[in-house]
């Protein structure tokens, strides 16, 4: 597996982490009502979307490099 393929695995893991982090913030906000928890929820969602956009850019930029 090349660095390109491993980077994609890493970005997928990061997207999942940020999605989970957003859900964690949302769940906490529903119980505590604290605005900081809502901010975590929002931040996690924005980071997850940002990472998906980056992954698309990365694939386009490195399309000539092998996955092996």
């Amino acid at each position: 597996m090349s660095l390109k393929a491993f980077h994609l695995v890493f970005i997928v893991a990061s997207v999942l982490l940020m999605t989970g982090f957003s859900a964690w913030g949302g769940a906490r906000w529903r119980t505590t009502g604290d605005v900081v928890d809502l901010a975590w929820c929002f931040l996690g969602g924005v980071a997850a979307v940002g990472l998906v956009v980056y992954a698309r850019y990365f694939l386009k930029k490195l399309k000539h490099i092998s996955y092996l």
Partner: protein
């Protein structure tokens, strides 16, 4: 004698030597961290319900600083992006860009370690205090007018040491209690030493949580340090190979980048398990 397949891939595997070696090494690393993660999860699910320190064997993970952990996660994700960009720059024959991205990666690594040290300092200077009447508090200690520091082991206090040092009373600034609005006063309580049943900092010997937390994060921190030193070597003193054998140099950066990604991936699992769950 020339060693084969250092820059060209072996035809049957499609891989060069260093990549095969690195993946074998990463397989052993997965087993090492996997064992530690499994231990953490087993201890976590086996812990008593309730809030620590009121419940002595409850899990005190809420003491970790989520904003700092989140910031460190962002730092490591950024470093993974820059290390892959550095490698891609070499593939495009742009050494100047490669060096710029590598310097950012190394700065991110040291920023991560600096922030982690700050977190360690927070833990080593934070204390658990139990009184003989059953009250349990966490907070900051003041002995003989001095707040214990981080780097000097002689600053670490516990009950036997207070007794043997003939200290009769200490000052203790308690943390706000969870579920009490978080607005407790920060006045220092004066506590007589003969009223104390247990006193210790948030250090490995104090609680199973701290023992496994420091084991996993310190091991991960050592990997970050080792990876950063290797990447720094490739960026500066070892960069001369770019002129003599650019293909092998690019392979070295790819292998360094693979290790760096593994270290970052460990953190991607570590952060939610230790800080959030």
């Amino acid at each position: 004698m020339e060693i084969p397949y250092t820059d060209k891939a072996r035809p049957d595997t499609g891989l060069y030597n260093a990549k095969v070696g690195l993946w074998l090494f990463l397989a052993s690393e997965i087993m090492l961290f996997g064992a530690l993660f499994s231990s953490y999860i087993m201890l976590r699910v086996g812990a008593d319900e309730g809030v620590w320190p009121a419940v002595k064997l409850a899990w005190p993970h809420h003491l970790l600083n989520v904003p700092i952990g989140t910031f460190n996660t962002a730092v490591l994700i950024t470093s993974s992006v820059t290390v892959v960009m550095a490698w891609a720059s070499l593939k495009m024959n742009n050494f100047k860009r490669f060096r710029m991205f590598m310097v950012i990666t190394i700065l991110c690594a040291f920023a991560f370690l600096g922030i982690k040290s700050y977190e360690y300092n927070e833990k080593f200077t934070h204390y658990e205090l139990r009184l003989k009447d059953g009250k349990a508090l966490t907070g900051h200690l003041e002995v003989n007018g001095k707040h214990p520091g981080f780097w000097s082991p002689s600053d670490l206090w516990n009950l036997p040491r207070l007794t043997s040092s003939n200290v009769t009373e200490v000052k203790f600034v308690a943390d706000p209690m969870e579920g009490h609005g978080g607005h407790a006063s920060h006045e220092a309580l004066t506590v007589k030493v003969d009223e104390i049943s247990h006193l210790d900092a948030f250090i490995p010997r104090n609680h199973t949580f701290f023992a496994i937390y420091f084991t996993i994060t310190a091991l991960h921190g050592l990997h970050v340090l080792g990876g950063a030193l290797v990447l720094a070597y490739f960026t500066f003193p070892g960069a001369g190979m770019w002129k003599t054998n650019p293909e092998q140099f690019t392979n070295r950066i790819e292998v360094g980048g693979l290790f760096w990604h593994f270290v970052d991936l460990v953190w991607i699992f570590l952060f939610p398990v230790v800080y959030l769950l």
